[in-house]
C-alpha cells in the first residue's frame, strides 16, 4: 500500500509528463481528464457557438432549456441518443459503421501529445507534431468511408470534396509547420525538436513566440496555418464538404442519431486539436502573455491571479443574470440553477487563488484561453464569410498557400542559417 502511494506521489514532484515518466497511474488519470475535459469543451463549444452566432445575427439563440439555454447541448445529446438509428438499405453496413468510429478515434487520439503544460500532457513524444498531423489526417479516411458507404450521391460528392480539400491543404499546412520547427533549432547546440513540449520550451528559451520570430516570416507561416486549419476541419468558409445549401449535409447526409453525433463530436474536437497545434507552434503554448515586456516576480504574481479572476468574472456574469431573471414562479428553478452554476464557478475561482493549485494549473489556463480564442475565430468566420467554391478553394490551396509556404520555409531557413553562421559564429 505504501509503495502504491509512493508511486502515485512520486509523479507530483516530477517535471515530466506522466507518459514520459512512465507513471501508469497518472497517465490513466490524465487520459480520463483529457477525455472528460474534451467532452465538456465540445458541449460548451456547441452552446457558445449557437449563442455567439445568434448574437452576431441579432437573435437570442437557445433560451428555453435551462437559463439562457445552458442545458440545450445536453438536451440535444439526449435527443440524438434516443433517435432511431437508420442505416440506408443499400449502404455498405460494415464500412458505414466503421466510418464515424475512425473519425472520432482520429480526433481524440491526437490529444495524447497536446501539451497543456510542461507536465500536463498524457505523454511527450519526440515525434509529437508528426504524430498529431499524421493521426489527424486519418480522419479523411473516415470521411471517405462515410461518403462511399452511404451509397448515395450527395455524401459521395461531399466525401470527394472533403478528401481533396484536406489532402491539398495538408501540404500547405505541413510547410508552415516545418518552418516553425526550423525555428526550434536556433539554440547553442543547433538541434531542433518535434516534441510538442520541446517546441514550447524552445520558444521559452529563445524568449520569443514563433509568431513574432523573424518578423514577418513567423507571422506569415502562422497565417498559412490558420487558413489551412480552417480548411482542414471543414469549417466555414471552407465547409464545402457539408455545404448545407448545396449538398444538404455532405458526407454525413445519411447519418442520424448517435452516429451523426459522433461526426459532430469529431468535428469539434478536431477544431480544438488543430487550434492546439497553432497555439503550441506559434503562440507559446502554455506560456503566459507578455513574458518579456512584463517580466519579474510582481508581474508573475499578477498573471497567476488571472485564472481565478476569470472564473470569478464568469460567476459574476451568472449572478448578474440571476438578478435579471424574470421574477415569475415558473422561472424559479432556472434562477436557482443559474445561481448554482455561478456558485460553482465562483468556488472554482476561489480555489484557483490557492498558490499550490494556481502554480499547477496556470499553464492549463493559458493554453485553454489561447485555444478558446481560436474557437471564437472559427465562430466569427462562420458568421461573416460566404462559402468558397470548390475550384476557388483548390486554387487558393495550391496556387496561393503552397507557394507562400514554400517561400516562407526557404526564407526562414536562410535567415536562420545566416543568423547561426554569420551573426553568431
Amino acid at each position: 500500500m505504501h509503495e502504491i502511494i509512493q508511486y502515485i506521489e512520486s509523479y507530483l514532484t516530477s517535471d515530466k509528463t506522466p507518459g514520459a515518466a512512465g507513471n501508469m497511474f497518472w497517465a490513466l488519470v490524465y487520459i480520463m481528464l483529457v477525455f472528460a475535459g474534451l467532452s465538456v469543451a465540445v458541449i460548451a463549444m456547441n452552446w457558445l457557438e449557437r449563442k455567439i452566432l445568434a448574437h452576431m445575427q441579432v437573435r437570442l439563440g437557445p433560451m428555453r432549456v435551462g437559463p439562457h439555454g445552458l442545458l440545450q447541448p445536453i438536451a440535444d445529446a439526449i435527443k440524438l441518443l434516443l433517435k432511431e438509428d437508420i442505416m440506408p438499405a443499400e449502404a455498405d453496413g460494415f464500412v458505414f459503421w466503421m466510418a464515424p468510429l475512425i473519425v472520432v478515434l482520429a480526433a481524440f487520439t491526437v490529444f495524447v501529445v497536446v501539451p497543456f503544460g510542461p507536465t500536463h500532457a498524457i505523454t511527450d513524444m519526440n515525434i509529437g507534431i508528426l504524430f498529431m498531423l499524421g493521426v489527424s489526417s486519418l480522419s479523411v479516411l473516415g470521411i471517405v468511408m462515410a461518403g462511399w458507404a452511404s451509397n448515395s450521391h450527395y455524401p459521395l460528392i461531399g466525401a470527394l470534396r472533403s478528401s481533396a480539400q484536406m489532402v491539398s491543404y495538408e501540404v500547405a499546412m505541413g510547410l508552415a509547420v516545418v518552418s516553425a520547427i526550423l525555428m526550434t533549432s536556433l539554440n547553442a547546440e543547433g538541434t531542433g525538436t518535434l516534441s510538442m513540449i520541446g517546441i514550447v520550451q524552445a520558444q521559452q528559451a529563445q524568449g520569443e513566440w514563433f509568431i513574432f520570430k523573424f518578423f514577418p516570416l513567423g507571422l506569415i507561416a502562422f497565417f498559412i496555418f490558420a487558413v489551412a486549419m480552417v480548411a482542414e476541419t471543414n469549417r466555414a468558409p471552407f465547409d464545402l464538404a457539408e455545404a448545407e445549401s448545396e449538398l444538404t449535409a455532405g458526407f454525413h447526409t445519411e447519418y442520424s442519431g448517435f452516429r451523426w453525433s459522433l461526426f459532430f463530436l469529431a468535428e469539434y474536437s478536431a477544431m480544438i486539436a488543430v487550434s492546439s497545434i497553432a497555439v503550441t507552434l506559434w503562440l507559446g503554448g502554455w506560456l503566459r502573455p507578455f513574458p518579456n515586456l512584463l517580466s519579474g516576480s510582481t508581474w508573475d504574481l499578477l498573471f497567476s491571479l488571472f485564472p481565478g479572476v476569470t472564473f470569478l468574472l464568469f460567476a459574476a456574469i451568472c449572478f448578474y443574470n440571476t438578478a435579471r431573471m424574470p421574477k415569475h414562479p415558473l422561472f424559479r428553478i432556472q434562477t436557482i440553477g443559474l445561481a448554482g452554476f455561478g456558485a460553482v464557478l465562483g468556488v472554482i475561482g476561489l480555489v484557483l487563488f490557492v498558490p499550490a493549485v494556481s502554480v499547477r494549473v496556470q499553464d492549463i489556463f493559458w493554453f485553454s484561453t489561447k485555444v478558446a480564442g481560436f474557437m471564437y475565430l472559427y465562430i466569427w468566420y462562420r458568421g461573416t464569410f460566404p462559402r468558397y467554391r470548390f475550384d476557388q478553394l483548390m486554387r487558393m490551396g495550391w496556387k496561393v498557400l503552397l507557394p507562400m509556404g514554400l517561400g516562407v520555409l526557404i526564407l526562414t531557413a536562410s535567415v536562420a542559417l545566416l543568423q547561426q553562421k554569420i551573426w553568431h559564429p
Binding site: M56, Y154, A243
Partner: protein, 384 residues
C-alpha cells in the same frame, strides 16, 4: 422581334446525345426537398464531377390550380387568391389583378388610392428584394445577412399589419381602389421607415459588395446575354442586369408611376454579381419613389364607383405590371357574367426559371445554387 424559334436555336437546349450512364456522368436529383431550391423546385442535374452538363427542372409540386379557381369565383372573390401566388410580393400581385379588372370595367382608382397603392407596392418590392438577398446570401454560405434583412423586413410587415391586418398575404387593394383609409400616422411611419432603411442598404452592401469571397462566387457566374434573355422571355432584374433598360413602370406606366422621378438601374455583364447590384440599386430607387409618393399624398376618396355586382362587358384584356421579380401579367377574358371566362397569369418566376439551364450549363454544382438564388423564384408563383 425575330421569330422565337430562330432566335432560340443558338441556345442548343437539347442535352447532347450520349448513353444514359456515361462512366463520367452522374445524374443527381436536387429537390423537391432541398435547402436551396427555395421551396419545392426539383432539378435533375447531369454532372461530370462537379461540372454541370445540363439540367432539367421538374415543377408542379405546389400546383393549386389558381387559374382554374379564377373561373369559378366572382371577380371580387378571386382577389385574395392572387396573393398566394408570389406570397413574398402579395401586394404586387394584388395591384396587377385589380388594375386588370379595372381596365375590364373601365374604371380608374382615385388619385389618393393610386398613391397609397404605389407606396405599398414599392414597400413590397423592398420586402421581396430583402428576402431575395437574405436567401441568396444564405445559399452562397453567408448566413448572417438573412437575419439582418429579416429584421428590417419586419418594419415593412408592421406597416402592412397596421394598414390591413395581414402581414404576408395582405389582400391590400380592392377593385376600384382601396377598402381601408390609411391609419393615423401612416405617412409618418412610412417616412420613419425610409430614414431607418437607407443606412440599412449600406449595411447589407458593406457585408457583401466588396467581400472577396462574395465577388468571387458571383462574378461571371450564371451569365446570360441580353439576346438570350429576350429570346427566353426573361424579365425583371435579370433582364436589366444583362443591360436591357426595360422596366414596365417606365415603358408602359401603370398606376401613377409616371408622376414619380426614378431611374432604372441596369448592369452590363448579366452575371450574378450584376443582378445583385441591380437589385440593391432598385431598393434605393424604391425608397426614392416612396419618398415622393408619401410627400405628395393627395386627399380625396379612396374608392372609385364600381358596381356591387361586377359584370364587366364581354371582351378580353391583358395588363402587366413590373412585379419585384419581373413582368407579372394578367389576361382575363370576360363573357359578361360575374366570373371570368378564362383567367391566365403570366408569372415572372415561371418564365425566368426557363433560363436556369442556359445559365448553369458548364458551371459547377455550387453555381446552380447561386443561380437559383439569383433568379429569385417563388415556387408558389411558378406552379400557381
Amino acid at each position: 422581334m425575330t421569330d422565337s424559334n430562330t432566335s432560340l436555336s443558338h441556345l442548343d437546349l437539347e442535352t447532347p446525345e450520349k448513353p444514359f450512364l456515361d462512366a463520367n456522368e452522374l445524374v443527381i436529383n436536387m429537390g423537391p426537398q432541398h435547402p436551396a431550391t427555395h421551396g419545392v423546385l426539383r432539378v435533375i442535374l447531369r454532372l461530370d464531377g462537379e461540372k454541370v452538363l445540363g439540367l432539367e427542372c421538374v415543377i408542379g409540386y405546389l400546383h393549386r390550380g389558381v387559374e382554374k379557381i379564377g373561373e369559378h369565383r366572382t371577380y371580387t372573390m378571386f382577389n385574395p387568391y392572387v396573393d398566394r401566388m408570389d406570397y413574398v410580393a402579395a401586394v404586387s400581385n394584388g395591384l396587377g389583378y385589380c388594375e386588370t379588372v379595372e381596365r375590364l370595367l373601365n374604371v380608374e382608382a382615385p388619385p389618393r388610392a393610386q398613391h397609397v397603392r404605389v407606396i405599398l407596392t414599392e414597400l413590397n418590392r423592398i420586402a421581396s428584394h430583402q428576402l431575395w438577398l437574405g436567401t441568396h446570401a444564405l445559399d452562397i454560405g453567408a448566413i448572417t445577412p438573412l437575419f439582418y434583412t429579416f429584421r428590417d423586413r419586419e418594419e415593412i410587415l408592421k406597416i402592412y399589419e397596421k394598414y390591413c391586418g395581414a402581414r404576408l398575404t395582405t389582400h391590400a387593394f380592392r377593385i376600384g381602389g382601396l377598402q381601408y383609409e390609411t391609419y393615423t400616422g401612416f405617412e409618418k411611419e412610412v417616412k420613419n421607415f425610409l430614414t431607418f432603411f437607407r443606412p440599412k442598404i449600406d449595411e447589407y452592401e458593406e457585408l457583401l459588395t466588396t467581400n472577396r469571397i462574395w465577388v468571387e462566387r458571383t462574378k461571371n457566374v450564371g451569365t446570360i446575354s441580353a439576346e438570350d434573355c429576350i429570346a427566353l422571355g426573361v424579365t425583371g432584374p435579370v433582364l436589366r442586369a444583362s443591360g436591357v433598360k426595360w422596366d414596365l413602370r417606365k415603358a408602359q406606366p401603370y398606376a401613377n408611376y409616371k408622376n414619380f422621378d426614378f431611374e432604372i438601374p441596369t448592369g452590363q455583364n448579366g452575371d450574378t454579381y450584376d443582378r445583385y447590384l441591380v437589385r440593391m440599386a432598385e431598393m434605393r430607387q424604391s425608397v426614392r419613389i416612396i419618398q415622393q409618393a408619401v410627400d405628395a399624398l393627395p386627399e380625396g376618396p379612396i374608392m372609385a364607383k364600381v358596381p356591387k355586382v361586377m359584370k364587366p362587358p364581354a371582351g378580353e384584356v391583358y395588363h402587366s405590371i413590373e412585379a419585384p421579380k419581373g413582368e407579372l401579367g394578367y389576361f382575363i377574358v370576360s363573357d359578361g357574367s360575374t366570373q371570368p371566362y378564362r383567367l391566365r397569369v403570366r408569372p415572372p418566376s415561371f418564365v425566368n426559371l426557363q433560363a436556369l439551364d442556359v445559365m448553369c450549363r458548364g458551371q459547377l454544382v455550387a453555381d446552380v445554387v447561386a443561380v437559383i438564388g439569383t433568379l429569385d423564384i417563388v415556387l408558389g408563383e411558378v406552379d400557381r
